[in-house]
Symmetry: C2
Subunit: 336 residues, 2 copies
Amino acid sequence: MGGTMKLLLRAARGEAVPRPPVWFMRQAGRSLPEYRALRADVGMLESCRRPDLVCEITLQPVRRHKVDAAILFSDIVVPLRAAGIDLDIVAGTGPVVASPVRTADDVAAIRPLEPGDVAFVAEAIRLLLAELGETALIGFAGAPFTLASYLVEGGPSRHHAKTKALMYGAPDVWHALCARLASITRVFLEVQIAAGVDAVQLFDSWAGSLSEADYRRYVLPHSRAVLDGLTVPRIHFGVGTGELLPAMAEAGADVVGVDWRTPLDVAASRVPGKVLQGNLDPCVLTAPWPVVAAETRRVVAEGKKAPGHIFNLGHGVLPETDPDVLTRLVEVVQSS
Amino acid sequence: MGGTMKLLLRAARGEAVPRPPVWFMRQAGRSLPEYRALRADVGMLESCRRPDLVCEITLQPVRRHKVDAAILFSDIVVPLRAAGIDLDIVAGTGPVVASPVRTADDVAAIRPLEPGDVAFVAEAIRLLLAELGETALIGFAGAPFTLASYLVEGGPSRHHAKTKALMYGAPDVWHALCARLASITRVFLEVQIAAGVDAVQLFDSWAGSLSEADYRRYVLPHSRAVLDGLTVPRIHFGVGTGELLPAMAEAGADVVGVDWRTPLDVAASRVPGKVLQGNLDPCVLTAPWPVVAAETRRVVAEGKKAPGHIFNLGHGVLPETDPDVLTRLVEVVQSS
């Protein structure tokens, strides 16, 4: 199989493939008992910094579900922590930032990321490449807007009101913050690409809270600074982004992530020429098997309307998901 | 002015009006100091059951902001509590249901709402009509899906996973539950209409978590059972419903609520012939005044592309909003 390009890469480049590749966001963890066992005594950030654990956790869902791609086990705040920002990931809450970033001085205090700061990620990727064979490895990073939302709010938030207040009220500070975050994210992804990942996914999970006009004015230039000219296929993902798909594609995506609110055939008409990724509702996995199978086949069929399709959920795997359902779902896609 | 139809009603019927009427969701409370003072020693549900308090709280934003419509102060769980369901509204959390509804027996135990159960609402409306003059009064109810989500989850939830699990896994139970909730909601609205409200708004706040296909299969028939044939203009609102606008209009809306993610001119093309309501991002109110004024004028201009436009936010007023900004915003719309 040595000379064959990996299925995910062929699909991401829009080449004809016999069936869509399949992987899941947050497949590396949360729903797997072997993940919970491994994490029982290890904090989230520590587990992201230990190459042996990153490698093992990244491989767990590949072994179990036989997915076509592994996603590097990490968290969007990992490069921020590596650049010296005082934050932690609190179980049941999410990222918590010691001193929220709200002024020009706060922004100026954020130092650039040096490749050596994330050497542990490069090492994890080297371990993974020795194991993965024909399974693609996808690199991982958070986009400037979503990273900024955590830094400005001080943690997760529902309305991102403080984030938007900074954006509207102090646009210079906002753009300076996003420029720094774009630089950090760019370095984080370049380290991963140099270490050998096959593709990258940029998570702008909360961009869907913005109107398209605000996205274009306050966010797109920074996401473009991250994605422009990267040498591997770039997947760009957010939730609730039905109206943003064209703008997110313009930010520099080869593959546009779509959630379940927008059918893939509708999405295909909004971003002509783009490969799509998605878009089964993660909640469908709690349904009886015939419903899961039928919905999976529907998504595969709708994906045929796009120039290319990578099967995924519309958002991350929910922690309460039965792992066996994921395994069966992979079989359905791979036999489609 | 006696013979003149109220501005909000004329706009809701698609008649030509000199400028859009303006009101806010959650204008009755949260951001107002006089509301907080009144609620200091009174629980949320108790305040919704006392006609004198409902009247006073409903009037507070009318006095302050001179909005064109009052929205009846209530909560979507008020008719459920009045029908005997054991629940409370916990400050900082939201509705909490003592025994979540998940089986056919749970559904069978929900009794119909009798008009007498909500006599306090009719009494509050009578008090209000004596005070309101040319200001329209909008009735208030939650839609079956959003009500069901609280009953099934037992409280607020992020992904509505248990709600969707019931929907997909036990559709008979799901439809029986929604039919009972539609009946309760219908009675609740008919009481309000009989007491004299000028229009009603049906809040399906969380419908935007559904795909259009699921919405049409599991939700639309029940919302239609609530709205069909009501004798006053019907506003139908949800968040993140860009893809659902046509289906929500079909459920029986004279006016379709739109959030800030979908520009009003885009929404107008998705629901031709419908009056639109919206859609300023509530977070914009935290911006410096020139930004608020410019964004307000943009929304007014985009609303001119629709057959009619009622100015509102895209979601409820955030508690941290400066009430003076709301007052000034009303002035901008009313002088447009």
